[in-house]
Amino acid sequence: MPPPPRRGAGMSLATYLSRTRGNRETAERIGLQDVLAYGYLVLGVLVILVPVLWTLFSSIKSERAVDSFDTRVLPIAQVETMVDGRSKPVWSWTAEDGTQRLVTKAGPTRKITDVATLEAPDQVFQVPKEALAPHEELRIATENYLDPILKRNGQETFNFLTYLGNSVFVTVAATLITLLINAMAAFALSKYRFRGRLTFTLLIVATLLIPASIILVSLFFVVWSFGIFGSLWGVIIPAAATPTGVFLLRQYMLTIPDELLEAARMDAASEWRIFWRIIIPLSLPALSVLAILSVIWRWNDFLWPLIVLISDPGKHTLQLGLTQFAGEFNSDFHYILAMTVVTLIPITLVFVWLQRFITTGIATTGLK
């Protein structure tokens, strides 16, 4: 008789997702704790997932469906046709004898409305309002995506590739600089003994208490006087040193045994080499966490880039670019939604890629 499969080993996704609390005997029953735990987890998933899914589904709806706050999940849109060079919605008219014909409205909607058939747009006749129903089809509104990206339909000012390039540059450069200088600061604060080490650490952490908006004006003057106002470096450099990052990395590096560093010193390694060959590889899990955080911060950052880059549209990031669709009197929500989805893609990929390192990193740090 083959041995029963071991719990936890080689488990399929379905078994994994339907696990219950308790040992082999009691696991069959679904207890109160299981219900509460799954309820809590499902709630959490919904809270996080629903807005994203709503954005995703709404972004493929037609402009008319988005503007009319159509609450149906699927992208059902009223068919439109060109009449006299104008796009008009198509209605389905049910005549008294039960036949259906496609018409467009030739005037305002009244109790008795003027309509014309698609075949003969000049022959206007009158039908009761009740006999008209929107002629709908299931259609993915690719123009929401393609118009801004390909600069069609009056979206010439939205330079998608420029914004994407700027966003990628800011995010990558800022994240690399953040990782490097935060790791160096954390290395010093965790592995070197000097007077005021704890004071420095506390000071750095204490800056977390100051909201960014409070130092906005002084930061503006600093950036201005360094001559990097209006350039991407003005966005990258001021935010490179993050107290969260220093603290996170320091706490992690404290767990790296001093003996490893001493062994490296006995191995004739310079302090710089110890940093690169011992500290950085062993801090990979914490660095991955910080990298994810930093990418999210930089990618989604809006206020500071807005201040620094406002005057030069050629330097706008994606998040700034999105504001073009929001005007004073009307907003192109279908474009905003579509471009929001586009901006979510890179950050999701980064997360999927980096989270591997978090788990593998933890697995390799067992010293003994």
């Binding site: 001493e262 062994a263 010193r265 004739a268 390694a269």
Partner: protein, 359 residues
């Protein structure tokens, strides 16, 4: 001749706490020196000062005649085996061994050659691709030693390298390290709290207590001629017996009732030291225990087959341990005769220093 290592008036304090109180020590080329002492005696601190991982508060450290105070550990050309092995967990065994050589910008071919040689000598050549996490305790120990060997250092430093191994493996590694010293001929400094390791491996033992050197000497010198009561008690297992007494005009009277002419000069309160194996057990007739010089009551005993340990007490309560080289029938509470041969006596004065023999 220049020594491999010279320590001159080395002092070290951590804040207000003095850990090392002025140590002078010269270690010759190719010597195997063991620092031994109870925990907190400063032996590891002394090793770290030599390694350059800490700086002495005052005093000079000379490596082959060159003063190296302030020279960082990475530039002293020494290598060290740590108690926790301190292998780089993210590197393979091969990378662990090559890391130090790469730091010295050695040509790749020579690195490979040295690693092969060291791995073969330590029998870890089949493990080179593994990570430290995939090795057993003994294998990690070998890799740690290998990492020290490939550097071909002026001096090997060992900081209690065997204390994480089980008893059997410890015995085996002890022999291997001794063999290694014989093979390589490098100077080695070995720190341990285990006097058996010190006795078995050392050319010379340095006994430390409270940041001071108590005695330096070859293992048997320390065993046979301890300079003071501390060394006498520390070296040798089971511990030397100490009995309180008075010395006057060459006559020793111990509190437990022994009166004996002894070849020691001096007078006043003394402590008689005698090793457990030097104490004779009186046997009468058919292997029965009878009466000798003195009588102890057996409180406990251990029969190990080859030797028998008797833990007894005199009538005045003073304890005596006896090591007997044969099997004898014993029971608790029984009285046993014990003999004290005068030639095995060590006498320590009130200052715990050993008294000189007069003949």
């Amino acid at each position: 001749m220049t020594h491999a290592l010279d320590l001159r008036q080395i002092r070290k304090s951590f804040g207000p706490v003095d850990v090392i109180h002025g140590i002078d020590l010269a270690i010759g080329e190719g010597e195997f020196v063991v620092f031994v002492g109870p925990s907190g005696c400063g032996k590891s601190t002394l090793l770290r000062l030599i390694a350059g991982l800490d700086d002495p508060t005052s005093g000079d450290i000379l490596l082959q005649g060159r003063r190296v105070n302030g020279v960082p550990a990475s530039e002293r050309g020494l290598s060290m085996v740590f108690q926790s092995y301190a292998l780089y967990p993210h590197m393979s065994v091969r990378q662990n061994l090559s890391f130090g050589l790469e730091n010295l910008r050695m040509p790749k071919a020579e690195i490979a050659q040295r690693i092969e040689a060291a791995a073969k000598m330590l029998q870890i050549d089949h493990l080179l691709a593994r990570r430290p996490g995939q090795l057993s305790g003994g294998q990690r120990q070998r890799v740690a030693i290998g990492r020290a060997i490939v550097r071909e250092p002026v001096i090997f430093l060992f900081d209690e390298p065997l204390s994480n191994l089980d008893a059997e493996l410890r015995l085996q590694m002890r022999v291997e390290i001794s063999d290694l010293h014989a093979k390589l001929g490098n100077t080695m400094i070995y720190v341990t709290h285990d006097q058996i390791e010190a006795m078995t491996m050392a050319d010379r033992i340095v006994v430390l207590r409270g940041g001071r050197i108590e005695q330096i000497g070859a293992p048997l010198d320390l065993y046979n001629h301890p300079a003071n009561k501390f060394v006498a008690g520390f070296i040798g297992a089971p511990q030397m017996n100490f009995l309180r007494g008075q010395l006057a005009d060459g006559v020793l009277r111990t509190d437990c009732g022994l009166v004996r002419d002894v070849p020691f000069a001096g007078a006043g309160k003394v402590t008689l030291g005698i090793r457990p194996e030097a104490v004779g057990v009186s046997l009468h007739g058919h292997g029965d225990v009878g009466h000798g010089d003195e009588v102890i009551r057996v409180e406990n005993y251990e029969q190990l087959g080859a030797v028998t340990y008797i833990y007894g007490a005199f009538a005045n309560g003073e304890k005596l341990t006896v090591q007997h080289a044969h099997q004898i029938p014993l029971r608790r509470g029984q009285e046993v005769g014990v003999r004290f041969p005068t030639e095995a006596f060590h006498l320590f004065g009130e200052d715990d220093k050993a008294l000189e023999r007069t003949r």
